[in-house]
């Protein structure tokens, strides 16, 4: 117990350690909370428990090998991180990716957004006591993981996007599976809404909780649904389009209430927008065409060519032993992940290994807003505040 001076006189406060092992911190997060009774006086997030040195490891791998590490940064949005990294290296190389591959990338990253938002909704609702929503959300998420498995052979760590295009041709009939899913999901979103949107307990736990205004959000570097729930329509897909997003028709949902409930509504609306994008992408994807850029020495040659052409065999050997060397320079590629702006700063020194890879992780930056969201509220709302940020601790600590 420490005595602190307040405007009303002196008060007794208690310091409480929440975490690192705590179910509602969605990973390994420790928050040192100073409490005055039930009121949070101070909340200080302590991070680093999941630091695995991904940025350092990238420096010891070739450009292609490093893709496998980007999956592991954010386990709920592996494809978004694949995309950010691949786009950065492609920019460094000055490589143009075929349209077909671009559209497939858009489709799959939007499926990733749905996947991530479903897990967010399920866990956030469970934190606040609505267990059934979690079960429903994971049921739908399973379908998305099955589609990822169908396309790439992996449910989570897909590494499906490669520098210059995609790893392999998606199997025939995969789009029917996608269609079945997106035809089903709107009614399921209705179901979640029926359970939560006008549920009085849900409203009491989220409305007016974790207020973060536009000015504070921008000052703290907060991006993604958190910023859009404060009324700022900043979405990298619209503002700095990449991978042909400028050819798609979608809205950027915003709210002005700046609270937890507004973030819930923004994320639900975003799921509907993602469905719109997936639908358009399905129409745009040509049934045939290259999925890799034409860049000998960078893109591995097709298997059949290796058996008949000497040159292809040499390229294959060189790419997988020494890699390829982009020109010296540096690029910063930003994309919109489910959590906000993901940035990849890749520096090349002209060798086959990246000189430096820096990941701008939205979870890391958004978590900085936790004291702002929770201080002055009650301790039970701290859980709501952690949930509403939608952090992935793997991404925070990298």
């Amino acid at each position: 117990m420490t005595t602190i001076e307040t405007a009303a006189g002196t008060a007794q406060t208690m310091v409480l350690n929440m975490g690192p092992q705590h179910p509602s911190t969605h990973g390994v997060l420790r928050v040192v909370v100073e409490l005055d009774g039930e009121t949070v006086v101070k909340a200080r997030p302590e991070i680093g428990y999941l630091h695995t040195g991904i940025e350092k490891s990238c420096e010891a791998l070739t450009y292609s090998q490093a893709i496998t590490l980007t999956d592991r940064i954010d386990y709920l949005a592996p494809l978004s991180n694949n995309l950010g990294y691949c786009l950065a290296v492609e920019k460094l190389l000055g490589l143009e990716v075929p349209k077909r591959a671009q559209y497939i990338r858009v489709l799959l990253t939007e499926m990733t957004r749905l996947n991530s938002h479903l897990v967010w909704l399920g866990t956030h609702a469970m934190d606040l006591g609505a267990t059934s929503v979690m079960l429903y959300c994971f049921r739908e998420r399973e379908e998305i993981l099955k589609i990822f498995e169908l396309v790439s052979g992996q449910r989570m760590m897909t590494s499906y996007f490669r520098i210059g295009g995609l790893a392999l041709e998606p199997p025939p009939g995969w789009l029917d599976r996608v269609r079945r899913f997106i035809d089903m999901l709107p009614s399921r979103i209705e179901e979640y809404e029926n359970l939560l949107t006008r549920n009085s307990i849900w409203l009491m736990r989220t409305q007016g909780v974790g207020i973060l205004g536009a000015k504070d959000a921008i000052a703290l570097g907060v991006t993604g649904p958190m910023l859009r729930a404060a009324g700022v329509a900043y979405d990298v897909r619209k503002v700095f389009p990449y991978s042909s997003y400028d050819e798609f028709n979608f809205d950027v949902p915003t709210r002005t209430e700046c609270d937890s409930y507004a973030r819930y509504l923004v994320r639900l609306a975003e799921m509907r927008e993602s469905l719109k994008i997936v639908r358009q992408a399905m129409e745009k994807i040509p049934s045939e065409g290259p999925i890799k850029a034409d860049a000998p020495g960078i893109i591995p040659p097709p298997r059949e060519k290796m058996k008949t052409e000497m040159e292809a065999l040499i390229y294959h050997f060189k790419i997988f032993t020494e890699g390829f060397a982009p020109p010296p320079g540096e690029v910063y590629q930003r994309i919109e992940s489910p959590r906000g702006e993901v940035g990849y700063f890749v520096v090349s020194d002209g060798s086959p290994k990246p000189y430096r890879v820096k990941v701008r992780a939205p979870s890391f930056v958004n978590l900085q807003a936790l004291p702002k969201l929770s201080e002055g509220g009650v301790v039970a709302d701290l859980i709501a505040c952690i949930g509403t940020i939608d952090i992935v601790l793997g991404e925070v600590d990298r």
């Binding site: 991070i47 680093g48 630091h51 040195g53 940025e55 350092k56 490891s57 420096e59 010891a60 920019k91 460094l92 000055g94 921008i218 000052a219 703290l220 570097g221 907060v222 991006t223 700022v232 900043y234 503002v239 700095f240 320079g329 540096e330 690029v331 910063y332 930003r334 702006e341 940035g343 700063f345 520096v347 000189y355 430096r356 820096k358 701008r360 890391f364 930056v365 900085q368 600590d397 990298r398």
Partner: protein, 159 residues
Amino acid sequence: MTDRPVEEHPIVQNLRAWDDRAVAEVSQFRGELTIVLPPERLRRAAEYLQAERGLQFDLLSDISAVDRFPIEPRFEVNYHLVSIPLRQTLRLRVWISGQDPVLATLIPVWPTANWHEREIYDLFGIRFEGHPDLHRILMPDDWEGHPLRKDYPVEGFRT
């Protein structure tokens, strides 16, 4: 991507008109503009870039350090800025020496710099003058060395 000479870029011209000595070097690669500043002018230039009506760089996306060991000055620190209202981006860069690397904090301009600067302090050992809470963020508090420096090995045991 633009073909016009980088010196004629409106952001560069605006900054030069404000203080010619604030711009040490400008370059453009793959359509991304980089302005190199002398470290002692960083703080004032940041305030100007944020407040000036024609620039309005309100969002600091990221701060990334790069170790150019054994070149001296050894460290480069990159600030990635976005102007949400004007839809433009900019990279600011400062070079700092490997001997006693120290830089002014930008927390008063962009509060988000707090954790970014702590991370750079932790992983590169660059100190930020005026930072209210400068201690390790990702590595344990009693860790020795700064892992992202180029003279720090990727794997191995400490002897």
